[in-house]
Symmetry: C2
Subunit: 194 residues, 2 copies
């Protein structure tokens, strides 16, 4: 199976991981798939819904997309049911460019997270979409990571520093982003900084 064709390549690929619980509830979260020369891994924090679901079903789907609104919504909201489609009974995101369903096997444990090795079971390419590099797109991704950290931090000075970094990314989005990047940044700003 050619995972590379889906857009998941060497290094860490930022995708939206969809899972379901044993009882059938869907979840979506932005997560990095780690790819070495020939192997795929994912590091899941034990406090996350994704971790619990993967424990229960031993599966996850990687949804490859460059729609940053989906990333922000998956990070901080529940994605509505209308976003999901089903692939062999497993939840995937309708709007994704490609889907990979992985089998997940525990590879390494620590107190905070577990590392799972991933084996591709099913691959679907929905559309092959070219996208030139856009600095605004990645600025939203970096800002999303900062916002996640902002939620965990209690120290006021650190919070201020995160806010400042966030503002720098907001400027890049304003200058370089398209309307989806601006919409995504708008959601983040409304949530954290207004």
């Amino acid at each position: 199976m050619n995972v590379r064709e889906t857009g998941i390549d060497e290094g860490i690929s930022e995708v939206i991981v969809t899972t379901r619980s044993a009882s059938g509830t869907f979840n979506a979260a932005p997560i990095g798939i780690i790819t070495t020369t020939n192997e795929h891994f994912v590091k899941l924090y034990k406090s996350s819904r994704t971790f619990i679901n993967v424990q229960e079903t031993k599966k996850l789907a990687a949804n490859v997309t460059s729609d940053v609104v989906l990333f922000v919504k998956a990070a901080f909201d529940d994605l509505g049911e209308s976003h999901y489609s089903s692939l062999s009974g497993f939840p995937v995101l309708k709007e994704a460019n490609s889907w990979i369903i992985f089998q997940a096997a525990l590879a390494e444990k620590s107190t905070e997270y577990s590392l799972f090795q991933l084996t591709p079971l099913t691959i679907v390419i929905n559309r092959k979409e070219l996208k030139a590099i856009n600095r605004g797109l990645n600025a939203v991704i970096e800002a999303t990571i900062l916002a996640t950290r902002y939620l965990r931090v209690n120290d006021e000075r650190e919070k201020e520093e995160l806010k400042k970094q966030m503002e720098r990314y907001a400027e890049i989005v304003e200058k370089c982003g398209g309307h989806r990047e601006k919409e995504a940044m708008g959601i983040l700003e409304k949530k954290f900084f207004k």
Copy 2:
């Protein structure tokens, strides 16, 4: 003509712009193509080779690629002849995913730069390649911009600050990049910080 299919979308698309001089010498430089709802523009600094060539031929080619090694080389080295191909007699980059040749018409002048409005003349899609978001890829782009600034700045404190920011991006590349991102960052580091 459907420019969007080439990967150039609303906002600023970072591409490699190839041009030729009246006498036939090729040039490549990483440049942002500005796209509003229906129009395309480019801002060219008057000191740049691209500006001089566009003045002479009224044309430029946008090469859409996510190969960051090409970006770094086009920014700081001359790309070797082996990288070029010819499209209707105009230089383009062999490895690009898509090519757009634009007619460039002067739209606005200032002392430092000129803004050109771009009209697509020819569009070629070489391959439709999906690529998941990779934080390392954009870290190389941001580091390339910092390195360009580093060359222009004389103030030692500002230079130190740029170096520090660059190190942060180098860490992201080390953690998230694939081998092309690491190679590109290696070129930058060797050039500026060793």
